[in-house]
C-alpha cells in the first residue's frame, strides 16, 4: 500500500464556488490556516453559470428598497417556509457583501450617477440585482478567486510562501468525512489526476459543495452537482431539511437535445421578454395564483407600462416566482400549446432593439447563436423547465452555519432553510456571500475556542480507502454510466416537477434496486484520471440524496413552492409549520417531522394580516 499523503489545517473548505471561496477568505482573514478542496480547476465552479445577478437591497435603482422589503419578498417566494432568521440576516447583510466585492476589484454595471446598477427579477418588488451583463456569476467567481490570490500574495510577502495560510487543492474529491467521537476530525479523498489518496486533518470542515441536479436528466447543473456535501453531512451524522423542494427553472433550452436543460437567464424576462404559447398568446396572465393577485398585472397594457412606471402599475406575470412560471409552462405544453420541440416561446426580439439585446444579454445571444442557430434579436427562443436548484440541505444554525455535528459547517446551496420552499432568482449569489462569510467566521470561532484538537482514527482511514477502491474489486458488474442514466430518468419521470404518490412509490422501489446494483459497480482501467471511477464514487452520493428527495416528497401531502403534488394540489397551512428532516444511520434514509421555528413577532409585523392569513394557521394568527 503506497504511503498516504497527509495534510493538517485549521479549516477545510470543501467546494470552491461562491460560498466556499467566501468562507475560505473569512477563515484566512481570521488568521487560520485554511485549505480549499475542489473537484474542478480553481475558478471553474458552478457559480460561473449564474447569469442574472446578486440580489441586495442597496436602493440604487429605487430608493424605496430596503432590507425589510427584501425580507418580505424572500419569505413570499419561499411560501413562508423559510428559516426567518436566515432570510433576515441575508436581506440585512447582502448590500455589504456586494460592496465588499468592489473592494476586491469587481466591476459591476453602473447607474448614470456611477453607482452599481440594479435590474428587475422575478419576485423582487424593486430592481434589486447587481449585475454584469448576464455573466454575473463569472464576475463573482473571478473576483473571489483573485481575492484569494491577493491573500496568498500577502502571505508571500510575509512568509515567503504563497500557501502559508491559504492553499487550494484543485481537482480533488472528498469521499468521506472522518470524526473523532462526535466531532469532525478531517476529510479523506483522492487527487482526480493521479487517484492517490490524501487525508486532511482539521478540526473544522465547511461544506460548500452546491447542489444535486445531476440526479435529474434535464438539468442546468454541471457534472459536479452530485450532492456530495449533502451525502457527506448525512453520513457524518448531520441532518438535512426541505429536501422535497427542488427548483425547476422555468426557462432552460429545449433544443438541440445535447444542450437540453442549459439555463436561459431570468434576466430575459426581467428586461422585457415575454412567454407565448403556440397560439401566440401571452399565457402567464392565466396563471396568477390567488396569493399574488394584488401584485401582478392582469392585462398586457398594465404589464407593459410597469417597465417604465413601477409606482402606478402592477408587475408583468412573467416575473412571478420561478415555481409558478415553471408550472405554467408545464401546463401549456401538456395542453398541446407548446413549441415544436416541447417548450414554449420566450421572445425578447419584438420587445427591445437588437443593439440593446446584445448589450444586456450578450451571453444569451452568444449561447443561442452558437448552440442552436437562433438569433435572439430576430427570433423567439424555445424554452422549458429544467432542474436548477435544491432548496433543501444541511440543517444549520443561521448565525454560524454550524450543523448538528461539532466542527461541521455548511453554506450556500448545500445548506437548507434560507429559501424555504422556493428560491427567488438573485438570492443565490447573495446567499453564497452572506452565509459563506458567516460559516467562515463560525468555523474560525469554533477552532479558536477548541481545547484539544480531534485525532483521526487510523481505522476510519482504512475503511474510507477500502470503500473508495471497491469499484476496482469487481469484474463483470454494473457500468456506472448505465446506472447513472437510469437514476436520472427515474428522478426526472417520477419525482420531477409534478408529483404523484404512486409514481414516487415506484421511484423508491427503483432507487432500492439501483442501490443494490450499485454495490457491484465495475470500473475499468486504473486510478489515474479515470472518469468511470469518479462517477462510480459520485453515484453513491446521488443515490443517497435521491432517496431523501423521494421519501420527503412522498410524505409532504401538499403543494408548495418547488414541491407540486397532483394528488394534493393546494397549500396547507398546517404543513407550513412542519419541516421534514432526513438522517441516515448507514442503512437507508429516515425522514421525520419536526416543528418549524415560529417567526419572530417583529418580523411578522412587516406583513399585512390579510397576507399572513394566506399562509399561517388561525392558531398562529391569534
Amino acid at each position: 500500500m503506497p504511503e498516504l499523503e497527509r495534510h493538517s489545517f485549521d479549516v477545510l473548505v470543501i467546494g470552491a464556488g461562491g460560498a466556499g471561496l467566501r468562507a475560505a477568505i473569512e477563515a484566512r482573514e481570521h488568521g487560520l490556516r485554511t485549505a480549499v478542496l475542489c473537484k474542478s480547476l480553481f475558478g471553474k465552479a458552478h457559480t460561473v453559470m449564474a447569469e442574472g445577478g446578486i440580489a441586495a437591497a442597496m436602493g440604487n435603482a429605487n430608493e424605496s428598497d430596503n432590507w425589510q422589503v427584501h425580507f418580505r419578498d424572500t419569505m413570499r417566494g419561499g411560501k413562508f417556509l423559510n428559516n426567518w432568521r436566515m432570510a433576515e440576516l441575508h436581506a440585512q447583510e447582502a448590500p455589504q457583501r456586494v460592496w465588499e466585492l468592489e473592494t476586491y476589484g469587481a466591476l459591476f454595471d453602473r447607474t448614470k450617477d456611477g453607482r452599481i446598477s440594479q435590474r428587475n427579477f422575478g419576485g423582487h418588488e424593486y430592481p434589486r440585482l447587481a449585475h454584469v451583463g448576464d455573466r454575473t456569476g463569472l464576475e463573482l467567481i473571478r473576483t473571489l478567486q483573485q481575492k484569494i490570490v491577493s491573500l496568498q500574495q500577502d502571505d508571500f510577502q510575509e512568509f515567503g510562501d504563497y500557501e502559508e495560510r491559504l492553499r487550494v487543492f484543485q481537482e480533488f474529491t472528498v469521499t468521506e468525512l472522518v470524526k473523532d467521537g462526535e466531532r469532525v476530525a478531517g476529510a479523506f479523498g483522492y487527487w482526480r489526476e493521479s487517484g492517490r489518496f490524501v487525508l486532511f486533518e482539521a478540526p473544522a470542515v465547511i461544506l460548500a459543495t452546491g447542489g444535486i441536479g445531476k440526479s435529474f436528466k434535464v438539468t442546468s447543473n454541471s457534472w459536479e452537482y452530485t450532492g456530495d456535501g449533502h451525502a457527506l453531512a448525512m453520513r457524518a451524522g448531520a441532518s438535512l431539511i426541505n429536501m422535497e423542494f427542488i427548483q425547476f427553472h422555468p426557462t432552460g433550452m429545449v433544443w438541440p437535445p445535447s444542450v437540453k436543460g442549459i439555463l436561459v437567464t431570468e434576466s430575459v424576462r426581467g428586461d422585457g421578454g415575454v412567454l407565448r404559447n403556440s397560439d401566440g398568446k401571452r399565457f402567464m396572465f392565466d396563471y396568477i395564483p390567488e396569493v399574488f393577485k394584488d401584485k401582478y398585472a392582469d392585462n398586457e397594457e398594465e404589464a407593459d407600462r410597469w417597465y417604465t412606471d413601477q409606482a402606478n402599475n402592477r408587475r408583468p406575470p412573467e416575473l412571478l416566482p420561478r415555481d409558478e412560471v415553471a408550472r405554467a409552462i408545464n401546463s401549456e405544453v401538456k395542453a398541446g400549446r407548446g413549441s415544436p420541440h416541447g417548450g414554449v416561446f420566450l421572445d425578447v426580439s419584438t420587445r427591445l432593439p437588437a443593439e440593446e439585446i446584445r448589450r444586456r444579454l450578450p451571453s444569451m445571444h452568444h449561447q443561442f447563436k452558437e448552440l442552436a442557430d437562433v438569433d435572439i434579436t430576430a427570433q423567439p427562443m424555445e424554452v422549458g423547465p429544467t432542474c436548477h436548484y435544491v432548496m433543501g440541505g444541511v440543517e444549520v444554525d443561521p448565525d454560524t452555519g454550524s450543523s448538528s455535528v461539532p466542527g461541521l459547517y455548511a453554506a450556500g446551496e448545500v445548506s437548507g432553510g434560507m429559501h424555504g420552499s422556493n428560491r427567488l432568482g438573485g438570492n443565490s449569489l447573495s446567499d453564497l456571500l452572506v452565509f459563506g462569510r458567516r460559516a467562515g467566521a463560525g468555523a474560525a470561532q469554533y477552532v479558536r475556542a477548541l481545547g484539544d484538537r480531534p485525532v483521526v482514527a487510523e481505522q476510519a482511514v482504512a475503511e474510507a480507502r477500502a470503500t473508495a477502491l471497491k469499484p476496482f474489486q469487481h469484474e463483470g458488474g454494473e457500468n456506472p454510466y448505465t446506472l447513472h442514466m437510469e437514476l436520472q430518468q427515474s428522478m426526472n419521470d417520477l419525482v420531477g416537477i409534478i408529483r404523484r404518490a404512486g409514481e414516487m412509490e415506484e421511484a423508491l422501489q427503483r432507487l432500492e434496486k439501483l442501490e443494490e446494483r450499485a454495490r457491484s459497480l465495475t470500473v475499468e482501467g486504473h486510478q489515474q484520471f479515470n472518469p468511470g471511477w469518479h462517477l462510480a464514487l459520485d453515484l453513491r452520493n446521488m443515490l443517497l440524496v435521491s432517496e431523501c428527495v423521494a421519501k420527503a416528497a412522498l410524505l409532504r401531502t401538499e403543494s408548495r413552492g418547488g414541491h407540486t403534488r397532483d394528488d394534493h394540489p393546494s397549500m396547507d397551512s398546517e404543513w407550513r409549520r412542519k419541516l421534514l428532516v432526513c438522517t441516515t444511520s448507514g442503512e437507508g434514509v429516515r425522514v421525520e417531522e419536526k416543528p418549524q421555528i415560529p417567526i419572530r413577532p417583529d418580523l411578522l409585523d412587516l406583513f399585512d394580516r390579510t397576507e399572513l392569513e394566506k399562509y399561517l394557521t388561525a392558531e398562529e394568527l391569534s
Partner: protein, 249 residues
C-alpha cells in the same frame, strides 16, 4: 438524422501515446464534447477529458479539434462533413497528464505573479463611483473564462518552452491591462507589464484574439494599448530627455 462518425482521439500520458480510431454515433445538434462523452459511456470508460458547464462559460474543455484550438462544448458537429475523420488532441503547449487532460498549472503560477487590485484607500465599501463607459474597457477583459486557449496558441510559448519563465502570455498580459484600465486601481502597471511579464515578446500576430471563444479583442484592446503605454514611458525620446534632465525616475 444520426450517422456513424469517424474520430481519432489522442490517448496516452506523459510517457507517450498515440491517436486511437473510433467509430461512434453522432446525432443532430451535437457538439464534439457529446461525442467524447458517448465514447466514455460506450467504448472507452477511462477516456480522460476535463469539462464542466457544457455551455461555453467555464473554459474547462479546451482541446485541439483537427489541429484548431477550441472548446469541445462549443464546437458543433454540423460544421464537419459526415465523411470527415475528426481528430481530437490535447492542448499542445501544456504538459500532458492523460488523454485530453493537460497540466495547466503554468497559468495559475503566472496569475499569482500579477499584483492584485490596489483599491483606493480613501473610499469605504459602498462609496465607489464609476461611469459605465469607464468600466466597460476592463469589463471586456473580465469576460475571460480562463480556457487558456490563447495561452495554448501563442507561438511565444507554444514553440518556445524556454520563454515560459519570462512571458506571462496573452491571458495574463490582458489581466495587467485590465487592472491598468480599472478606473479605481491605484497601482502603476506599465513597467511591470514590460519588465516582469514579458509584454515585449508579443509581436501582435493576433492568434490569441482569433481563438478566443469569448471574442475578446485581446491584441487590439489590451496588448497594443499596453505596448503604447510602455512605449510612451520607456521609449519616447522627449520623455527620455525629460527624465534625464529632471532626474525623474
Amino acid at each position: 438524422m444520426s450517422y456513424q462518425g469517424k474520430f481519432r482521439v489522442w490517448r496516452g500520458d506523459d510517457s507517450g501515446g498515440a491517436l486511437e480510431d473510433f467509430t461512434v454515433e453522432v446525432n443532430e445538434g451535437e457538439v464534439v464534447l457529446d461525442i467524447i462523452h458517448r465514447l466514455q459511456a460506450t467504448q472507452a470508460p477511462d477516456l480522460a477529458v476535463r469539462w464542466n458547464c457544457k455551455a461555453g462559460k467555464c473554459g474547462s474543455c479546451s482541446a485541439e479539434i483537427n489541429g484548431r484550438p477550441g472548446l469541445l462544448c462549443m464546437t458543433r458537429m454540423s460544421i464537419f462533413e459526415e465523411s470527415e475523420t475528426i481528430t481530437v488532441t490535447p492542448m499542445r503547449t501544456f504538459p500532458i497528464i492523460r488523454d485530453l487532460v493537460t497540466d495547466v498549472s503554468y497559468n495559475y503560477t503566472k496569475a499569482r505573479e500579477i499584483p492584485s487590485f490596489a483599491p483606493p484607500k480613501d473610499l469605504a465599501p459602498g462609496e465607489y463611483r464609476m461611469q459605465q463607459v469607464d468600466v466597460e474597457r476592463s469589463q471586456e477583459f473580465r469576460k475571460c473564462i480562463e480556457c487558456f486557449l490563447c495561452q495554448n496558441t501563442c507561438h511565444v510559448i507554444r514553440d518556445h518552452e524556454e520563454n515560459k519563465e519570462a512571458f506571462s502570455g496573452p491571458r495574463f498580459l490582458m489581466r495587467v491591462a485590465e487592472l491598468e484600465m480599472h478606473p479605481l486601481d491605484t497601482a502603476d502597471r506599465v513597467d511591470q507589464a514590460q519588465d516582469d511579464h514579458g509584454l515585449g515578446y508579443c509581436n501582435i500576430t493576433k492568434c490569441c484574439s482569433e481563438v478566443c471563444p469569448e471574442h475578446i479583442h485581446i491584441t487590439d484592446n489590451a496588448l497594443i494599448p499596453m505596448k503604447e503605454r510602455v512605449a510612451d514611458r520607456k521609449y519616447d525620446p522627449i520623455v527620455w530627455l525629460g527624465n534625464k534632465l529632471f532626474k525623474r525616475s
